[in-house]
Symmetry: D2
Subunit: 201 residues, 4 copies
């Protein structure tokens, strides 16, 4: 029973997400992560793309790459130029099947640029055509990943993180962790990032 | 020592963020959360606002509120109308001092609408003028919150989550948890949310 | 010869655009315009879409429709819900072949919503599947539409309005003229529009 | 009397706008235009800003500057970095008093970057602090600019172009004309612009 003055679902949802992030970290394929990191540092320009909330995670990552001094663009924003062969295109798509993103992924490959995809689904359209695939698991299909059965029953499982929430947040946390990795590897300091952070807000 | 073929910083950063989310949950002031939830359900319309990456968290929340069937707008987007007294304005700002957002907060109060702020800083400009303040702690100023001293020394503390990262992700996870809370309280099912999710992507 | 302290190209370009707008008006198929206007007033909701600068014209129109009190959304913005059969989808595409927009147009038709397209090209993919097509001519392929041959030779024809400029501006002016038409037909006053204009800017 | 199967207001509005553009061209202060053009070509980076529909005109111009190969950003978009002293900031604001834009203009001046404003109002907050002011007249306060008195009476004057429409379109046409001027002065060809035009749409 959900007492009106408690907010059990809020707390359960936050803990559920935090636990999932830890699981994503523990299962992360570091080879693909390092491949991504190296391609970011050696590409001429970096393009981020994603639809809906995955697109917001892509934008959050793009903003930090800009803070680090990379030449980075978000597909669909005003000043994003044409992609060229020396560029890296990074797609964020839980299913790997978002039509517009899969279509742009195919165009990227035709142009000759490298394509990296952050997805839950290696065998998806995007997974198959990408040079780099980092798997970030989303909500498990079965119950096995969430242990507190009583609490789950009470609150209702799906309501802890509906639709693509688990993937979207995990992808964002992973991408922000890639920023840490890039800072360590390039020796960038937070002060340098801050200098590029807009004061226009 | 950071082995080139490991990605210690990536994993440390993800675990650091997950731990922080659990701390935010454990310290959450549930009275303010319930106040926020109730105001969301009884306001005529809901407006979300935030600058930079806090703005992206605000948008991610707005998208889910739309999926739930609320009449919701993002300040600055094309079809956001004028705010009116019956509306709820929700600001996301770690410092509570982002000039444009603080300024819009003040205008909201002048119009007579209710103002809620998600912030790390209760005593900020936004914190002081808001009807509802939900505190989401950001990166601690001191070292006390991050225990693995050796690892921290090795990787460099600030690089685990530079600038406002800790707040921005925690705020997003908190707001997504509010969606769970709203689903439980309103009885909304995931199927209903899915029906409102655009297929235009 | 272009004197450095003159700006002949600027003035020639502005006059070229103004002349083109007058030609567009003189050739406008009023039957299709009235069909568009009537569908706007009787649809449940209106969705605008377009890529690049055509997308900006679509947004400018969407903003005015919101000022008039219509329930209007821009495809791709945060709070745009799923399109339904009772909705009107308006595409802006000079060529009528923009892949993402043509694809969304096809999805709109499958859903059962009405599709209107503002385009230069009636026989395009979008033109063929739309319920309503308003032709807004873009830059003419031949020279015949621009009379001052000497000036044209001197400045270089294409530079008066490169790429899709002629279509994009003409489409915007046409759509703003549809707002006038809607105001006359619905009796809406400018004061009413102003009331819905955000003060958050 | 407005016959239901005519669309007199549509045509009158388009011609009204076209006539206004010609007037704007005829009164244009070419010294300020050339000042703007020269600052665009010699600045390190260019930032565009504007609220609402003026912001859409600013974005349309930014996109073309990108097509020309300039390092250009839109304030508020994801990858816009911090403004620096060598940069040119261009504001679009009919009134010259839009609070957020006027505020960012003041910050630009404090940073030491050059500020250009496209406005109807030289004596406005933005007009006064700008290094370059290009006057683009908006809707005249008096009736004198629109000659067809009978038609105006019949249709209703304000409905030909409500709110800031006249300024917004005139500013867009002017800025597109500046692109022509830049193409003539730099010798840029349309083919070069096309190469930078995204195929991701």
């Amino acid at each position: 029973m959900n007492n009106e003055m408690e907010c059990k679902a809020t707390l359960a949802s936050m803990n559920f997400i935090a636990d999932h992030i830890k699981k994503v970290a523990s299962k992360l394929d570091t080879v693909s992560v390092i491949d991504l990191v190296k391609n970011i540092t050696r590409s001429k320009r970096i393009f981020l793309m994603g639809a809906g909330r995955s697109g917001l995670a892509a934008k959050a990552f793009a903003m930090r790459l800009m803070h680090m001094g990379f030449d980075v663009h978000v597909v669909g924003e005003t000043t994003a130029p044409a992609v060229q062969p020396d560029d890296l295109v990074i797609a964020v798509s839980g299913s790997g099947e978002t039509p517009s993103i899969a279509n742009l992924g195919a165009i990227s490959k035709k142009i000759g640029s490298r394509l990296a995809t952050i997805t839950s689904n290696k065998d998806s359209t995007l997974g198959k055509i990408s040079d780099i695939v980092v798997i970030v698991p989303g909500r498990p299909k079965e119950d096995i990943d969430y242990e507190d059965y009583q609490e789950r029953r009470m609150i209702g499982y799906t309501q802890l993180a509906p639709l693509g929430t688990v993937f979207e947040i995990s992808a964002l946390v992973f991408l922000d962790a890639v920023i840490s990795e890039l800072m360590v590897r390039t020796g960038a300091s937070e002060a340098e990032l801050k200098k590029r952070h807009t004061v226009f807000e």
